[in-house]
């Protein structure tokens, strides 16, 4: 039997007492607060909304999977790392290497992809005016399976990239090395008449390119046996450069003056000694100018290193110095 309490003709609260509890303003404020919560509750309580959110999340995940969005390395920002630059290179529009056994020159700042058989690829970025000649300092690999950037062994990567760099380097002398100019000496007919030139009698000079004067060797002003001059005036131009003004008789009976900008390079008693010095300089220049012949198996060794170093499906991002 149910438990009831029975009241018969018990007085009820009057209108005044009831009005004390009536508060539409408070009710409306509570309603507004509840409705705000109601919206968020509906997100997971309402099956339709929940399914919609789940579908939306799945679509976002699929788009993420398809596009493989770039992930900026957490520890990567270093000097020279441009966060605004793309860290992800699409598969098209890039200077791809033409084949697995060939390399090509990469423009500074360009991205390149080296297709390798056991990895998804090697992604390089080169920067700076020197392009590929700039040393590369740090490398990061993007693991497509783990979806994260990870540092790779710096020494291994540097070795690898330096090896690639040798293949990419053009067969031309280094920019700062210049072919040495052939030195020349100055012989006067009557040296005793020109005491001001006495201190330059055993001096050998080298023409200064870009001085506005002609190379005395190519213009025929100087010959291996050496002409004998009537007069030579020496004027100091500063920076170790002198202006030599050669005078010799012309057909009209006057004197013809020819000016050459040159630098004194060494003292030699005989032309043979000067020639020996020149040959030595030339040999040194040629040795420095000739690029090292790439080994036949360079690229193969690069691939081997990468195969050893990077697992399958890894992109390599290199931060240049």
């Amino acid at each position: 039997m149910p438990d009831y309490r029975v009241h018969i003709d018990k007085p009820l609260p009057g209108p005044e007492r009831i009005r004390r509890h009536r508060d539409f303003g408070g009710l409306y404020a509570t309603y507004r607060a509840e409705m705000r919560l109601h919206f968020w509750r509906n997100l997971y309580r309402n099956p339709r909304v929940f399914a919609g959110v789940a579908v939306l999340a799945a679509v976002v995940l699929l788009v993420f999977e398809a596009s493989e969005p770039p992930a900026v390395p957490a520890a990567a920002p270093a000097a020279g790392y441009d966060t605004a630059a793309p860290v992800w290179a699409p598969a098209t529009g890039l200077p791809w290497l033409s084949g697995p056994d060939s390399v090509q020159m990469l423009a500074p700042g360009a991205w390149a992809h080296a297709p390798l058989p056991d990895t998804s690829g090697l992604l390089l970025r080169l920067s700076g005016p020197g392009g590929a000649r700039e040393p590369l300092r740090q490398a990061w690999a993007y693991d497509t399976a783990a979806r994260r950037w990870m540092p790779v062994l710096p020494q291994q990567v540097q070795d690898t990239l330096l090896t690639v760099r040798k293949q990419e380097a053009p067969a031309q002398p280094a920019a700062r090395l210049r072919r040495p100019e052939r030195p020349f000496g100055v012989r006067l007919r009557n040296a005793a008449d020109f005491p001001q030139f006495r201190r330059f009698r055993t001096t050998y000079w080298v023409w200064t390119p870009g001085s506005g004067t002609q190379d005395p060797w190519t213009s025929g002003l100087i010959a291996p046996a050496g002409p004998v001059w009537e007069d030579v005036q020496v004027k100091d131009l500063g920076n170790g450069t002198y202006q030599l003004t050669f005078y010799r008789p012309d057909a009209a009976g006057g004197l013809k003056a020819t000016r050459v900008a040159a630098q004194p390079v060494f003292e030699a008693a005989t032309p043979e000694a000067a020639e020996a010095w020149y040959q030595q300089q030339l040999a040194a220049w040629e040795a420095a100018a000739q690029p090292a012949a790439p080994a036949a198996d360079t690229l193969r060794s690069v691939r081997t290193r990468l195969r050893w170093q990077l697992p399958e499906g890894v992109w390599l991002y290199v931060i240049p110095d």
Binding site: I8, Y31, H38
Partner: protein, 199 residues
């Protein structure tokens, strides 16, 4: 139909429906409906809880839920109060389920006499006492039905709206319930009357 039960004319219903539609467009316009029905709902709750503060809390819950679900309200021909009573009945039942307190039956002598008359019993004190005992024998949902009909004076259309049944089903249900009351009255020792009374 017994004239004592509250009814609304068609014009009243249309005017009330206009208020409801205005409140559905803008919840701030719910205030007229709130003011119109607050006292009835409050007293309905008070009679069943016998506590002014609890009644006020439950009443706030009733109107808050009404405001929240107002966009889903559809006019079925019954007064808006029927929808409010439906929410109030659910709130009261939920309250007693959670509080595990004894239910309160608040009876008024006048309305109790009317109920006794509806049960074809003589309006004697003995019949009144027997009816009080019989009401305590009823299940909570049966007692609730009788309370809404005889003490809150709701029409069958409103009862149908509250319980989600048709008006005719509400009448049938009431007749069966009165038959049960009569049987319980006979059991309690009062002889049944000869003539049935209209409900």
């Amino acid at each position: 139909m017994n004239p004592a039960f509250r009814t609304l004319t068609d014009a009243d219903l249309q005017a009330e429906q206009a208020l409801v539609e205005a409140a559905q467009r803008n919840p701030r316009r719910f205030a007229p409906l709130y003011d119109r029905y607050y006292d009835r709902i409050f007293l309905f709750l008070y009679k069943r809880t016998d506590d002014e503060e609890i009644s006020a809390d439950l009443c706030s819950q009733v109107f808050l839920k009404a405001l929240q679900h107002l966009p889903r309200y559809r006019f079925t021909g019954a007064p808006f109060s029927a929808w409010l009573f439906r929410i109030a009945v659910n709130e009261v039942n939920q309250y007693f389920r959670q509080a595990k307190r004894a239910r309160v039956i608040s009876l008024e002598t006048v309305k109790l006499r009317q109920l006794v008359a509806e049960a074809d019993e003589p309006r004697s004190d003995a019949a009144m006492q027997a009816m009080i005992r019989v009401l305590q024998l009823l299940k909570p949902e049966e007692l609730e039905y009788i309370e809404l009909r005889f003490f809150e004076e709701l029409s069958f259309r409103e009862l149908g709206e509250i319980y989600g049944i048709t008006e005719n089903n509400a009448k049938v249900r009431m007749y069966r319930l009165l038959d049960r009351v009569k049987a319980l009255m006979v059991k309690s020792g009062l002889p049944p009357a000869d003539e049935p009374a209209a409900c």
